[in-house]
């Protein structure tokens, strides 16, 4: 399903013929290189990701799209022997500035993973985890956040009677939506989604996709996907990666229907590999 037709007043749906968004560039990737040990995973990527839109990263496995995504909240810091060059800025501030505390960065950038991964806790405690680690424990606030987040993740009606049961009692799709609720609980500005539907059945996938189009009202969403149809259905802009390089980046409709590059054309028409 392509994005809804644009009305000129709405900043979220404007993409002009030049592919320039009206929204200000919220995330700027500036000559970014990245190495795992001796292996270079990302080469010289420059891109701007606009605010309150869904930007999809597509490309074959090992093309560097997930690596770039995980650099947006510096989750790659967990891995040893990594190295980078260049810079990534969010809202004008460099992620790699020595005065940046990774923890406060991550509070601004939520993340949903490929395999749903709730904590071995209750539904309630899963949702409020980010508040608790931030030292916010007021019951009234937590209750409110739980309801808002679960409603935001379109899960409230299904779980409101079993908030204090284990999260593992939910179905896979519900668990992934719980992870989304958990990621948005602390109101981040950016939501990173790493193949969020890879482990889900089609019905659950559609629910998540519908949810994403709602969420972009509030969040800047970056999604990594292998599924071209999914990119077409939900994203405003799409970036195609190959061998660690950004090959083509533009409005989704344009990139999928009239790609400029031969490599993109090959990939989306299934001739890749």
């Amino acid at each position: 399903m392509p994005p809804e037709p644009a009305t000129p007043a709405s900043p979220t749906t404007d993409f002009s013929a030049q592919g320039e968004p009206l929204n200000p560039a919220f995330i700027e990737v500036d000559h970014f290189h990245f190495w795992y040990g001796a292996k270079q995973a990302i080469q010289d990527i420059n891109m701007e990701i606009p605010e309150r839109q869904i930007t999809a990263f597509i490309g074959p496995s090992g093309c560097g799209k997930t690596t770039l995504l995980r650099n947006l909240n510096r989750l790659n810091d967990l891995i040893e022997n990594i190295r980078h060059e260049g810079d990534i800025r969010i809202d004008g501030q460099s992620l790699y500035d020595p005065s940046v505390e990774v923890i406060s960065l991550r509070k601004r950038v939520g993340m949903v993973f490929q395999k749903y991964n709730p904590f071995p806790k209750t539904i309630y405690e899963n949702v409020v985890f980010s508040l608790r680690v931030a030292g916010r424990n007021a019951k009234a606030e937590l209750d409110e956040v739980v309801e808002r987040s679960l409603r935001g993740a379109a899960l409230w009606d299904e779980v409101k009677d079993k908030l204090h049961e284990s999260a593992y009692g939910l179905s896979g799709g519900q668990q992934q939506r719980l992870c989304i609720a958990r990621a948005i609980a602390n109101r981040p500005q950016i939501l990173l989604m790493d193949e969020p539907c890879a482990a889900l059945d089609p019905v659950a996938t559609l629910k998540i996709e519908a949810l994403m189009t709602q969420l972009k009202e509030e969040f800047t969403i970056v999604i990594v996907t292998h599924n071209m149809q999914q990119a077409a259905r939900v994203s405003d802009r799409t970036a195609y990666f190959f061998m660690g390089r950004l090959i083509e980046y533009g409005p989704t409709l344009q990139l999928l229907s009239k790609p400029r590059e031969k490599a993109t054309q090959d990939y989306i028409s299934g001739r890749y590999g």
């Binding site: 967990l78 406060s104 991550r106 993340m111 993973f113 071995p120 602390n186």
Partner: protein
């Protein structure tokens, strides 16, 4: 393949239960009662009452008719011959009192002219052609003591304690009864023991404060007499510096309707057995009561009444058992445990009891001259739940105690078999080892698994695993010969180091967290410890040298000459009232901690490392700090594995043997007579009984060390041997039940924090 694995598993289960079954089978006989079976009767050719005795083979009992005739009558007439001896008593006297000393088979006779005659019944054995034991009995005349002529003797006793020999008699009856004692002296020459001369007899009647003596006993040390008077009191007279003094006077059954009926001694002669008309029996033992300087009699035991009163009493010559009987009942009791070992209904009226030297046969003579022989099978009279787990008032002790002292050099020794101090010792060693090991091992595991740089981790983990394979005898050797003497004089240093290292490390951590991010980011993640290592070394060095200064300031005691001494080893006993041992829990806890740390570390590190990275990433992505990730996600998820690690560490510490054998004093003592640290916090001595036994500067003996030390010396199937097996069973059950409970808890934890 699976069948091979199943077979192996079944074999292990069978082996464990086989071991348990073996231990159990060794332990069960400890809790059995005595078995008493009638084996034979012997008819003496007399019908009068008399006195009887048994040889050590129980083949040739004798009967003494109370005057001049002593008859030996075989149990098996086909092997042994009956014989008869006439005692060479002076003419024209009769025997008016008699006492048989079963220890030396000595017959002490008080005569109507006031003299004392002593005979010894002797047995000699040889094997005949068929291999049967042939026993021959004879009587040797030991001596005739020419006490001053006077009234017939009502009671007589004689004891030979080598250099000192003492005879005591009660002369005359009723109001005219006199208590006389006389020492015997033996001159010694190069040619050996010379002639025995009787000293002057001393009249001690005046010492009885107006009461009249009825019965007199001499303990084996031959330095005192115990007199029962007509007013049912007991007088304890003691020979000190060749003068007799009244040490004690007491009434065993005060203010009761049934008065004292008889007194006698128990094997070892430090316990006085008294019984009343109603058959109540109380034992009084010699000990130094609190506040006194000499040993006095105090009641230590009481036994259920023998219905119908006690007519006969006979102590065993092998242990602290004794037999009492009346017209209907024979009862065998054990003094130490206050247990009734056997009760037998009698169909005849016994006139005397006898027991062989091995306490295997009991003979009861009835009034028609028939001797009823019983076989007594009671291999473990001193055992029982009471002996193993309760306080027992042992002979010579001023109060009931838990005590372990299984062997001694003498036969009349009372084995002290309480397992409680050993159990406490095991728990104490384990407690201190875990107190030291658990925080270090767990924190190290958390650090290595979640914080440390993987390159360093690759080195640290195998090194810790090599530490686990260090033979504990090496650790024990180090503890005993290097560590114990080293920290003996430096306890204040150890205290300073133990307090300073965590304190300063925590302060540095806190200070670090206050630094601006800019500075903190300079140091690569996972290498912050590099800063701490030199600081910890510095603190350890500083603490070591700070110790003597602390000692001079805080741990000062008064020397006997009035000067001040700064020595923790003197200060501790003075301050807490508990002794300071060089080989104490601190040393054991430290060294056993070293044995336990690698185990706890390795297993818990494994489970911490196995926490799925996905949920660690998830919590990091939600803005949790590394410490919050560990606390809120990693530790709960790994809790089941950590719990197993703790339990395996506990099992290792409880069962650890070599280190405790070498590094503790092996003192099975849990009785500390002081006010303790706990007392300082308002928990007075005794209010919190177990707290008295956790003193860190005491030694201990553990169940496992006890088995290792004593099993090689225990006679197979003796009570001692089986009690060591009981210790093994207690250890087995302790770890088995704890591990089972821990496993159940672990399953619940695992279920609760299962991922997915």
């Amino acid at each position: 393949m699976t069948s091979i694995i199943a077979f192996g598993g079944v074999c292990i289960v069978v082996a464990v239960f086989g071991i348990f079954a073996f231990i159990f089978s060794e332990v069960v006989p400890l809790f059995g009662k005595a078995r008493v079976e009638k084996t034979a009767t012997v008819q003496f050719p007399v019908t009068a009452d008399g006195l009887t005795g048994l040889d050590e083979w129980s083949q040739l009992p004798f009967h003494y008719d109370g005057q001049r005739t002593l008859r030996f009558q075989p149990v098996q007439p086909s092997i042994n011959q009956p014989s008869q001896v006439t005692l060479p008593l002076p003419d024209a006297v009769t025997v008016t009192s008699r006492r048989f000393d079963p220890e030396h088979n000595r017959l002490i006779l008080g005569l109507s002219d006031g003299q004392v005659a002593i005979y010894q019944v002797k047995y000699a054995s040889s094997a005949d052609a068929t291999g049967s034991t042939v026993v021959k009995g004879s009587v040797s005349s030991e001596r005739l003591l020419p006490l001053p002529p006077g009234q017939p003797l009502q009671s007589v006793d004689y004891k030979d304690a080598g250099d000192r020999k003492l005879v005591a008699v009660v002369q005359g009856q009723g109001a005219s009864a006199k208590l006389l004692v006389a020492s015997l002296r033996q001159s010694r020459s190069l040619l050996g023991a010379g002639q025995v001369k009787i000293g002057e007899s001393i009249d001690l009647t005046a010492k009885l404060e107006g009461q009249h003596p009825e019965h007199v006993l001499i303990p084996g040390t031959a330095d005192s007499v115990i007199v029962e008077t007509d007013r049912h009191e007991i007088f304890y007279l003691f020979l000190k510096n060749s003068a007799w003094e009244l040490r004690q006077r007491f009434r065993p059954f005060p203010g009761e309707s049934s008065p004292l009926a008889g007194i006698d001694l128990l094997l070892g002669d430090v316990s006085l057995v008294t019984w009343s008309d109603a058959g109540d029996l109380r034992i009084f033992s010699l000990f130094v009561p609190p506040g006194e300087t000499t040993r006095l009699f105090g009641q230590t035991k009481s036994f259920p009444a023998l219905p119908g009163g006690i007519l006969h009493y006979l102590p065993s010559q092998r242990n602290k058992s004794f037999a009492v009987a009346n017209d209907q009942l024979l009862r065998i009791c054990h003094a130490t445990t206050e247990g009734v070992r056997a009760s037998i209904k009698l169909s005849f009226r016994p006139v005397d009891l006898a027991m062989d030297a091995k306490s295997e046969h009991l003979a009861l003579l009835d009034n028609s001259g028939v001797l009823h022989l019983y076989q007594v099978d009671d291999p473990h009279p001193e055992a029982g739940f009471r002996a193993f787990f309760s306080r027992i008032w042992y002979e010579g002790s001023s109060k009931p105690k838990h005590e372990w002292q299984s062997t001694s050099g003498t036969d009349d020794f009372e084995p002290k078999l309480s397992l409680t101090p050993l159990i406490i010792g095991s728990l104490k060693g384990t407690l201190y080892a875990l107190l030291f090991a658990v925080p270090i091992a767990l924190l190290a595991a958390v650090f290595v698994a979640q914080f440390m740089h993987p390159d360093v981790k690759k080195v640290v983990k195998p090194v810790m695993e090599i530490m686990a394979s260090l033979p504990s005898v090496v650790l024990g050797f180090l503890a005993a010969l290097w560590l114990a003497p080293l920290i003996e004089t430096r306890v204040p240093s150890v205290i300073a180091i133990v307090i300073l290292i965590p304190l300063i490390s925590a302060l540095i951590g806190f200070g670090w967290s206050l630094l601006p991010v800019r500075h903190r980011n300079l140091l690569p993640k996972g290498s912050e410890y590099g800063v701490l290592i030199p600081i910890v070394i510095l603190i350890a060095w500083g603490g070591w040298h700070l110790g003597p200064i602390l000692e001079r300031v805080f741990f000062v005691t008064d020397a006997p000459d009035g000067s001040k001494i700064a020595d923790f080893r003197l200060w501790w006993p003075q301050f807490t009232g508990t002794p300071y041992d060089q080989r104490n829990c601190l040393v054991v806890g430290f060294m056993m901690g070293f044995a336990v740390i690698p185990i706890i570390f390795t297993i818990s590190e494994d489970s911490l490392s196995n926490v799925p990275p996905s949920i660690i990433s998830a919590s990091e992505a939600l803005g949790a700090s590394r410490w919050q990730v560990v606390r809120t996600v990693v530790l709960p998820v790994a809790s089941a594995g950590i719990f197993s690690a703790l339990m395996i560490g506990f099992g290792r510490a409880v069962g650890e043997t070599m280190i405790v054998v070498m590094a503790t004093g092996n003192t099975a003592i849990m009785d500390t007579n002081g006010r303790l640290i706990f007392g300082e916090f308002g928990l007075g001595h005794g209010q919190f009984p177990l707290a008295d036994h956790w003193d860190i500067f005491n030694g201990m003996r553990t169940l496992s060390a006890n088995i290792a030390v004593e099993l090689p010396e225990a006679a197979v199937h003796s009570t001692h041997y089986r009690t060591l097996f009981l210790g093994a069973m207690v250890l087995f059950l302790m770890t088995f039940s704890l591990n089972t409970a821990a496993e159940l808890l672990r399953q619940r934890l695992r279920e609760k924090f299962r991922i997915g």
